[in-house]
Symmetry: C2
Subunit: 223 residues, 2 copies
């Protein structure tokens, strides 16, 4: 029995929502691992990334299969292409959570994050969790208003990212080069995580409205 | 008159080759701008990124149009999907060259790169140019052997990236936090540039052989 195009597409959306959930969980655990120097937790995040990678492969295979069997055109075709782009962004978000966990593992038993930066990094982790949770809601509910509101969380992430740079560039930074390198990389990982969530949300806006939100997002806002 | 599927796909390949050429040119000029503190050159790289972005949009539109009109299945369908992935990677490579140029602009009239790192960064720039030139050849010639050989250039990039970290972590690093932050970011941009070139090459291997090369590439080799 041939299932309908929309049933197949709903199945793909469910996969994307699950990828968003796993990416959020990974970033939440990676942040804790980083701040508490928790090796066990860091290892678990690193190992779990394979699940997100597998979901991405499966989502893409289902999408290609859907294109081949149902031969969608117009909006339906764009829906499938957009789903594949979203799966790519979500997989990358999983990679970025893994990278945060890898920094935690590298510095164990110490925490890579100096106490003076702890609250900023904690907040970056919270914004990351919030933004990916919203991205999941956006996919599940085709909710354009929430999708557009993601930009505000991303602005918040950019502000925190600038705070990290401000601390590093301050003459009072006396915590050594290793801590500065770690903070630079970690800050970039969180910022890119939020950028990919914004791209996921914009994909949804495009699907529903037929147009990408006008503002061109550029990463590296601090430069 | 309806053009053939393969003519349309060749046209898309030509766009991808042009994107690779522009990304290589951008990284070459960004490296010079960075090492020589050349503001004018940095600005030109930043402005030119829009060309690569436009080519990506055009490539994706052509691909979607091709899917809608020709309804390809099996290998032909995978070819179009792979072309869209390649255009995404190549666009990102353009972004990364722009980021290098943005660091150059930020530190003007100084060079962001300390003289002790100059030769390493110069070499990273050369490897980046080489790897994207090969990626272009791979797309144009559907050349699996060159595609597989890209891994060696990527290993070279990873080695240079580790050299950057080794210099930063050395107790003799006395050049301040700002220079360390810049080197960390720039090193990451070159490394990611090479990673995306490898992904482009793997897409081609997949197209020709039907299988992705077995080695799973993970970025952040230094961690």
């Amino acid at each position: 029995m041939r299932t309908s195009f929309h049933e197949d597409l709903d199945k793909i959306s469910e996969h994307l929502v699950e990828m968003a959930r796993l990416a959020g969980l990974a970033m939440s655990r990676a942040t804790t691992a980083l701040l508490d120097g928790d090796l066990h937790l860091a290892e678990s995040v690193i190992a779990a990334d394979e699940q997100i990678d597998a979901l991405r492969r499966e989502t893409d295979e289902r999408s290609i299969d859907l294109l081949a069997r149902q031969q969608p055109v117009a909006t339906d075709l764009r829906r499938v292409v957009t789903a594949m782009r979203m799966s790519s962004d979500l997989e990358r978000m999983g990679d970025l959570a893994r990278h945060v966990a890898e920094v935690a593992r590298l510095r164990y038993p110490d925490s890579a994050i100096h106490p003076m930066m702890r609250s900023t990094v904690l907040e970056m982790g919270q914004v990351a969790e919030r933004i990916v949770a919203k991205a999941g809601l956006v996919i599940a509910g085709k909710d354009v208003q929430t999708a557009l509101a993601l930009d505000r969380d991303d602005d918040e992430m950019d502000r925190l990212h600038r705070d990290i740079f401000a601390m590093l560039m301050d003459d009072k930074w006396k915590y050594g080069t290793e801590a500065a390198v770690d903070a630079t990389l970690v800050g970039r990982y969180y910022e890119r995580f939020a950028d990919h969530a914004v791209l996921v949300a914009r994909g949804l806006v495009y699907l529903v409205t037929g147009e990408f939100p006008s503002q061109t997002h550029r990463d590296n806002e601090q430069l």
